[in-house]
């Protein structure tokens, strides 16, 4: 067992563990926070910390796995691509959802300190 493989495996395991913890915390936050807009921040933890990071971990572990045979590069490649895709897709999704919710007034913004967007729209 090469030392570099051990490092990669350890890194992968750590990444996946971080992902699991982030997911757990995000789901707690999603239940705990008062309104949609604040929950979005918890959801961001769930997607970046809870999906991108562990997917990179999966890719790293796949790279040194024997079981996958020659197809291990496929798992690596697709998980990296998926991670990148989520990096682009998830903020877009959150943004457009927030946009729609605010425009169509689907969710209350309360509690809030300030709402500049509403002020701008009222003008």
């Amino acid at each position: 067992m090469l030392i570099i493989e051990e490092i990669v495996l350890g890194l992968g395991v750590v990444f996946i563990t971080i992902g699991a913890i982030c997911d757990l915390l995000a789901s707690i936050g999603l239940n705990k926070f008062p309104n949609f807009y604040v929950r979005m921040h918890a959801a961001t933890i769930g997607t970046i910390g809870g999906a991108v990071i562990p997917l990179i971990g999966v890719g790293l572990i796949a790279l040194i796995s024997d079981q996958l045979g020659t197809y291990k590069y496929m798992v690596f490649g697709v998980s990296i691509i998926t991670a990148l895709l989520i990096m682009i897709a998830s903020p877009t999704g959150t943004h457009i959802l927030a946009n729609a919710a605010h425009k169509a007034k689907l969710a209350p913004v309360q509690p809030k300190v300030v709402d500049k967007l509403e002020e701008a729209e009222e003008k």
Binding site: L25, V38, Y71, P91, V114, K116
Partner: protein, 162 residues
């Protein structure tokens, strides 16, 4: 021509990553697919090919590394703390920006949204400002908000894409 070549390389790389092999068959089909796609999408994805350069790519990679390993963890820890303590001061603030190209705007917006604690709710292209939902409103002054939220992103984005 340059943009085609760069897109071709990117597509071929992605094709091989998804296939997970570099056998001759995959190289052959990957090259065909990448060639066709690069011809079709070059005008649709790249507006100004003089901006494509290696330094910009290196900057992008550096930025991504810093973003993932420094900024993200900090923001994550901050919001995790808020989840546990239930301590928040949410609000939507204005954040002005000064970049020009679509890609840099998108990069900034994504960077803001991807850091937990800030989400871009809307963008006003005429007045050049984002409306950002911030979990902990420290100030409502637009310029100070920019300093807190998007200063670093914008500096990098203008270097990468503008």
């Amino acid at each position: 021509m340059k943009k085609q070549a760069i897109l071709f390389t990117l597509y071929l790389l992605a094709y091989l990553l998804i296939s997970g092999s570099v056998s001759l068959t995959d190289l052959f089909f990957g090259a065909i697919v990448a060639f066709i796609l690069s011809i079709i999408t070059c005008n649709y994805l790249v507006k100004d090919e003089t901006k494509l350069s290696l330094t910009r790519l290196l900057r992008l990679i550096k930025y991504l590394l810093v973003y993932i390993f420094v900024i993200e963890p900090r923001a994550h820890l901050d919001v995790i703390k808020r989840i546990i303590t239930s301590e928040y001061k949410p609000g939507i603030v204005e954040v002005p920006y000064y970049v020009v190209s679509d890609y840099s705007k998108t990069l900034i917006a994504h960077s803001i949204t991807n850091t937990p604690g800030t989400v871009v709710v809307s963008i006003n292209d005429q007045e050049k400002k984002f409306y950002v939902h911030w979990i902990n409103v420290k100030t409502v002054e637009p310029l100070k908000c920019r300093a807190y939220i998007s200063q670093y992103f914008e500096e990098n984005a203008s270097k990468i894409f503008d």
